[in-house]
């Protein structure tokens, strides 16, 4: 596998070896990572206030497309990044789980906002206390709601993680063990 031109900014982490003036060699995995990290296809699982800030992030003022998260897709089959924006309650939980299961590997999850991360200030009878009760999360973006800058920073962090983390196909063990809320509440 070889690439003809790879600009300087994109080579970091790829550990390329120059063999000639305009040739370099690398592994397929590295190139795959490099491609993936610059072309997320997000699935916006927006339910609440965070979804409005997500809309701000992708509309003209902030324009997340500048960083290669251009193609927002509403089909889980066509997307590789699940952005959970908003409160997930117990009624929504099976839906979220199903959407996540329908996405093809490799896939990543960004938990946007306090509610998705931990239930936020809704410590209540119908609200999931963080989506990591049911699905694994790669990046937690705090804020209520996070600013678009915050979300973008989260996605940059994810880009770094895609290069670093080679375990992306084996993530079963990462879900927080679900406690029986009945027992937790006493």
């Amino acid at each position: 596998m070889s690439l003809k031109v790879l600009d300087q900014g994109e080579t970091q982490g790829a550990k390329v070896a120059h063999t000639g003036e305009s040739w370099l060699t690398t592994t397929f995995d590295k190139v795959e990572d490099w491609a993936q990290r610059h072309s997320f296809w997000p699935f916006p699982f927006g339910t609440a206030c965070c979804a409005i800030e997500f809309m701000s992030s992708v509309s003209s003022h902030y324009d997340m497309a500048r960083f290669g998260s251009e193609v927002v897709r509403f089909s889980p089959r066509q997307s590789d990044l699940l952005i959970v924006a908003g409160t997930i309650n117990d009624k929504m939980a099976p839906v979220l789980k199903k959407i996540f299961d329908q996405m093809a590997e490799p896939k990543w999850v960004v938990s946007m906002g306090a509610c998705a991360c931990s239930g936020g200030f809704y410590r209540a009878y119908h609200v999931m206390q963080g989506i990591d009760e049911i699905i694994p999360v790669d990046v937690y973006v705090p804020g209520c709601p996070p600013t678009p800058e915050g979300l973008m920073y989260g996605i940059f962090q994810l880009k770094e993680k895609v290069l670093r983390d080679r375990k992306k196909y084996a993530r079963e063990s990462q879900t927080r063990v679900q406690e029986e809320p009945a027992a937790a509440a006493g």
């Binding site: 609440a48 206030c49 409005i52 003209s60 009878y125 709601p145």
Partner: protein, 564 residues
């Protein structure tokens, strides 16, 4: 407000003595009605020419475990022709919380009664579909009863998800097409993430449908009961998160009335201006997303730019863009920024060109006309019976606006009009919102010309507002007040009150019951889009699937407010 209803309309003589008792000392006329006569009283109240209560605003329950008759079902009524309000209370026992359904009188009762069943376990006799609406199908118990633990959760597994069995009317059978049942949502871009419609299709025509909500029910009302009065404000932000400041104002005004305090002129002035900016933002989101759902993407960008600019103003005031929490009981959380007026004036220049652009692009656009004109049209009479308020009602030809009918803040001191259109369809709902944006701009301009009032941003009352930091460190008295406010919070005198503001979607009401402690006893929000969305099934039946999309956008249903 006039008190005509307390003068006992003539039909009262027909009921047995003691079945209807007026309650004295309330913020609005209140009757305690026995459940045996409720259905007849309701019909009389609607039809009698001396009352004409044509709008059922809200149905809710309150739980008083210490009373002999533990529950109280509370109805809020409004008469459009007479501009009067009435509250009905129906006491119920724990053993037998049944009462007649009022759907035959007001269709708006449908979802409100389901909610009261879900939250309190009231059984409405004669309700055609009395099942849970906000909580999920594996849920047990009734969460707003006082003995329900606020953190007690139930797990919903996939096999228990509700699957409606639709009743198809026989006369629509058409042998040409095969019947198909489709499920739209909740995770569907056109369903705004949280609504679910199950529709039976005949070809492309919807012949039967059922709407399922509750995918964003996050227990606002229970959370209010576990937090102090000031702590409720951030929760109100997240009701209608597209115009969160209006929610702050609605809640704070109601509590201020209960406390008997008046916010200073500067706070009232700023509240009016920021409420109008919030309304503009909300209408921008609604129209923008309706148009993007209809395929007119450019307008979405045009509408979102003014929003970003208004975010800048709110951020300068409160530090937050979306969920501002800028209102406080007694005023505002902090003083206005020094360049507040200059920023507002700049916004007044920036916003109109964007609206002009959209109108030039869209108002006469053939595709938009085909999609929107006549789609999901509703008559004024039906809209009122379904409990509609706000821009959607004004698109059907009823010019009801809380800001005119019962002016608050500074709305009676400025000149403005209530835009009314008569088509009642998606197109007129879109036009009403554009016209309201212009009215809001005019209100803001007049207030800015008047100049910012001098003085404090919050009342100078140490029982309500924190003393300045400087004084807390240097004066014993201020330190004590600071300690008391932080530890105990505000103490609101016992009583109850229903107060309302004109939210971006319609009448946003807060029904608050206080028992005198530092936490609210009960807060019921009257969400304007709840009765509007309850009509959805009726609106889309007979229409095509693509009409569902534009209809939903035009109604501006905000999940946070709908499901709380």
């Amino acid at each position: 407000m006039s008190t005509a209803v307390t003068e006992a309309p003539s039909f009262l003589d027909r009921y047995p003595a003691g079945s209807i008792l007026p309650q004295e000392g309330m913020d609005q006329p209140t009757w305690v009605v026995s459940r045996d006569v409720l259905a007849d009283v309701a019909r009389d109240l609607r039809d009698d020419p001396s009352t004409e209560f044509d709008l059922l605003l809200d149905v809710c329950g309150v739980d008083y475990p210490d009373r002999e008759e533990r529950f109280e079902a509370v109805y809020h009524l409004y008469s459009l022709p007479r501009n009067e309000r009435l509250r009905l209370k129906v006491p119920l026992t724990e053993e037998d919380p049944t009462l007649p359904s009022l759907i035959p009188v007001w269709k708006a009762a449908d979802w409100f009664e389901r909610e009261a069943y879900d939250m309190f376990g009231f059984r409405f006799e004669g309700h055609p579909n009395l099942r849970r609406i906000l909580t999920h199908d594996a849920f047990q118990g009734h969460p707003l009863r006082k003995d329900y633990d606020a953190t007690r959760r139930w797990i919903l597994t996939e096999d228990k998800i509700y699957r409606p069995k639709l009743q198809v009317p026989e006369d629509v059978a058409d042998d040409m097409f095969e019947r198909m049942t489709i499920n739209i949502g909740p995770s569907h871009p056109a369903m705004h993430g949280t609504f679910r419609v199950v529709a039976e299709l005949d070809g492309e025509t919807i012949v039967a449908s059922e709407v399922e909500i509750g995918y964003l029910h996050r227990c606002f009302e229970k959370m209010c009961e576990t937090h102090t009065w000031q702590h409720v404000i951030p929760y109100t932000d997240r009701l209608n998160y597209c115009s969160s400041f209006i929610n702050n104002v609605g809640y704070c005004r109601t509590v201020e009335k209960m406390l008997g305090i008046e916010p200073p002129p500067k706070a009232v002035w700023a509240r009016t201006i920021l409420s109008e900016f919030s309304r503009i933002m909300d209408h921008c989101v609604c129209n923008g997303s309706t148009l993007v759902d209809a395929g007119a993407l450019t307008n979405f960008w045009y509408y979102f730019q003014p929003r970003e600019e208004i975010y800048g103003l709110l951020e300068a005031c409160s530090g937050a863009r979306l969920t501002v929490s800028y209102g406080r009981i007694g005023g505002l959380s902090q003083d206005l920024p020094p360049d507040f007026e200059a920023r507002c004036r700049r916004l007044l220049e920036i916003i109109p060109p964007f609206i002009d652009d959209v109108e030039q692009l869209i108002d006469k656009n053939g595709i938009w006309h085909k999609r929107a004109v006549g789609t999901a049209a509703i008559s004024a009479e039906d809209a009122v019976n379904w409990g509609w308020t706000g821009p959607c009602l004004r698109a059907s030809g009823v010019g009801y606006d809380v800001r005119k009918a019962r002016p608050y803040d500074l709305y009676d001191t400025v000149e403005w009009e209530v835009p009314v259109f008569h088509g009642g369809d998606v197109y007129d709902r879109y036009r009403v919102r554009n016209a309201e944006i212009r009215q809001s701009l005019s209100i803001i301009r007049q207030l800015l010309d008047r100049g910012m009032p001098e003085g404090r941003h919050i009342v100078d009352d140490p029982h309500v507002a924190l003393p300045p930091k400087e004084a807390c460190y240097n004066q014993m008295e201020s330190m004590i007040y600071h300690f008391k406010l932080i530890m105990d919070g505000i103490l609101v005198p016992p009583g109850e009150r229903y107060d309302m503001v004109e939210g971006a979607n319609g009448e946003l009401g807060f029904y608050i019951v206080s028992d005198g402690s530092s936490k609210p006893y009960r807060i019921k929000v009257r969400p304007p889009c709840f009765p509007i969305f309850s009509t959805f099934s009726d609106l889309i039946e007979g229409a095509s699937v693509s009409d569902v999309i534009v209809t939903l956008g035009g109604l501006n249903v905000i999940a946070g407010e709908l499901e709380r």
